[in-house]
């Protein structure tokens, strides 16, 4: 079916209900994750503290593990011509020994250590800043759209974008890192783009609501698809460019950012065009009824 007619074909209430159901599932997934790991989104090493090293693949995983046997290795993964090793807590002397060993044995090692002071601080900051960012966005939305119903649907849709994205991260195993937090904040800004377009078109133009929604959708879909493709290019390069050249490897931070933005864009497509577009239809239909009822009296 043509997506343009799909968004305005069914009863608005049903479509809104479906979107809210997706949000509910997302919240459930995060709830489960909370019970399992103690955090709604699984925390990455920046938030838990620990050490990450990446070294070029010059031996088998077992050989590498044997070399690092004296250190608290938690996980070894092949990230494309390089191994990424995650290690647990170490004291200063051990860490220094490890960094010297890695520097001596391998060409171009990458090392990253996040101590408990750093990670606790980061956790606290994330707990403050993500809601703060959301609050800022909400204030701006309220200032632009003085109608509470409209402002609230936009904010709900942004909230749902973030929650669905976070649940998607849990599902595919992308952990919360500085990069993903940045991407989530960016998403907060992003997610209102298409909503503002939709509301502007539908509320400020004359004409049939359905047609205006469809027109807005054509523009909105083009917007989301250009952004999606730009980010998808980033995703491809960060995840798969190692297949093309042996000197390339996965770039975690870019991979994290791009995956989060891609999920966010998909969630936003649904929340804007399935939930908000139909919420608007519903709102306009009921306010029209209200005015015509008033006129009859």
């Amino acid at each position: 079916m043509d997506p343009e007619t799909f968004i305005s074909k069914y009863e608005p209430k049903k479509m809104v209900a479906i979107s809210l159901a997706v949000l509910a599932v997302a919240l459930l997934i995060m709830g489960f994750n909370y019970i399992k790991t103690g955090s709604p989104v699984t925390l990455g090493v920046e938030f838990t503290g620990g050490t990450i090293i990446t070294v070029p693949v010059v031996e088998s995983e077992d050989e590498l593990a044997a070399k690092l046997a004296a250190y608290p290795v938690l996980d070894i993964r092949d990230v494309g011509h390089r191994y990424m090793v995650q290690l647990g807590p170490m004291d200063d002397a051990e860490y220094k020994q490890l960094s010297e060993l890695v520097d001596d044995e391998y060409q171009d090692p990458e090392i990253k250590y996040m101590g408990p002071v750093y990670s606790t601080r980061l956790q606290e900051q994330a707990k403050t800043y993500i809601p703060l960012s959301f609050l800022f966005m909400a204030v701006v939305v309220f200032l632009i759209f003085r109608t509470p119903f409209v402002a609230l649907t936009i904010i709900l849709s942004a909230f749902s974008d973030i929650m669905i994205t976070a649940a998607a991260m849990d599902t595919v195993g992308v952990k919360l890192s500085l990069g993903t937090v940045a991407a989530l904040l960016m998403l907060i800004g992003y997610s209102v783009d298409s909503n503002i377009l939709l509301n502007n078109r539908v509320l400020k133009r004359k004409g049939k609501t359905e047609e205006k929604i469809q027109g807005a959708f054509r523009t909105g879909f083009a917007m989301t698809s250009t952004t999606f493709c730009a980010i998808f290019a980033l995703f491809l390069v960060s995840a798969f460019s190692y297949l093309v050249s042996s000197s390339f490897t996965q770039i975690n931070i870019l991979f994290d950012i791009s995956v989060v933005l891609l999920f966010g864009l998909l969630a936003d497509l649904m929340n804007t065009w399935v939930m908000n577009a139909n919420a608007l239809r519903w709102y306009l239909a009921s306010s029209k009824k209200a005015t015509s009822r008033r006129q009859k009296r």
């Binding site: 860490y95 750093y118 940045a182 904040l185 377009l197 054509r218 917007m223 493709c229 998808f232």
Partner: protein
Amino acid sequence: MTDITKDPRVIIFFVAVAAALIILAPIPSESGLHTRLKYGLDLEGGSWLQLKLQGAIVEPQVDPINILTKQFSDATGRDVEVDWRPESTDYQITVDGKASATMAEDLGYAQATVTPRGNATKITIPATPAGVIMNYLETSLDSDVKYLGSDPLSFEIRSNVTRDELEAILAQVGGTLVAGDAGFSEGVTEDTVDETKQVLDRKLNRLGLQDIKVRVVDNKFILIDLAGVSIADAQEIVGKPGVFEIRIQTTGNDSMHVLYGDQIVDVSLPQGDQSGNWGVPFTLSEEGALAFQKAAVDTGATKNRMDHDISMYLDEDEIFSAPLAQDLAASLEVAPMKNMVAQVGGDSQRAHELYIHLREGALPVNVEIIGSGQVTAALGSQFKKQVLIAGIMSILAVGLVIYFRYREPKIVIPMVATSFSEVLMMLALAALLKWQLDLASIAGIIAVIGTGVDHLVIITDELLYEGKMPSGKIYLARLSSAFGIIMAAAATTIVAMLPLFGMGFGAFKSFALITIAGVLIGVLIARPAYGRIIGSIMQPGE
């Protein structure tokens, strides 16, 4: 429609693009061409360290008399009586029976006078109440303590101590800490942070390292970026800046504290004499010179120098040990000496190490490494290549999508060109303001390419709402409606990014900066011009 080449928006746009191209043009230098762009450590290679200064600012409530009573009765095992004599600013301690002449010294009280009085001994120590409390904190915590002020009475403890530990220590003498954060707050004073930063700055600069950034966050964290240095070396250089101490041998293997590195006011470059003996000249402060003389006289080193070696310690590791020089011993017998030379013999390398230790031993507080990392230059340049490919692919992908949407080169070409110009202007601004481009900020640029094109699509679709470009008033009304949407979207993006400035010691500051800059450049420079240009191109012939 008027000639668009006279439109101020279009003129500003082209001037800005031209300026961007000039800024970004590669400049020839000795090592070939290079641009003005600055790269972050993850693209350039290098290491970083995040240090936490250990310390706390405390306000104890304790009676100095209790402290002295406890200290002297513990030392003698007998009852003591303590009197505070404000008129002469000293404490008088009466101990039953005899007391050793050095007891007060051993407990850390200088210039005490000990007078036997019949069955008792009177010890007079010139000290203020604050001085007694400070001494008690220093000895029981084995840490440097700095007196901050008397109203309220507060101290800076320069080591890792918890509130519970401190309260336990004060409880032994019937004292406590003031309730709440005023009584105990983690961190050190601004002065101490500055001092530490300066020492680190000097130390790194002297090693001839370029592009070092030492930043202070929240008065207790110091962040150091070292381009082109491995993490093992970086840690060696700054990770463990130590506490420097001079001690003097008392008897056998025992030694006593003479002074800390803060009493060394100047260190000169190592000098070698004709016979190839190397030494490091250094100068003590007045107080330091007095302490040194007193220690030398008290231990008997001035008379019997060979039995009382002078040792220097950095973080409790001995870095130097030698007896007093004969002439110095003789001079110390009569007066304090400020100028000394630490002789190391024929090893000039060792003299140089000692020189660094002596100079930098004065790091005022201990530090803890809370985060660190490294990316080598070769890996960084691989990343650079990869992100360049990602950027090019993004623009191509965007161009392709736009082509499928509009199938009209007259729209596609200006759109992609505008998007590309936004990237150029962002990079130029970054180069101009010396922002460091790191992996995160590249992701920001690519995300801005995505949103930027979104906005160009909004402008185009608003203008072409009825399938063709309107003219005159309708065109302007449509354009302003498009800008209403764009401005609102830009405003939300910017406010949502603001909190990133403070997160993770500013690790994503560059991401936030470049994203906000990109949004502003787009909204204020590129998109207004695009609106005019596309209007003019798509205008049906007049």
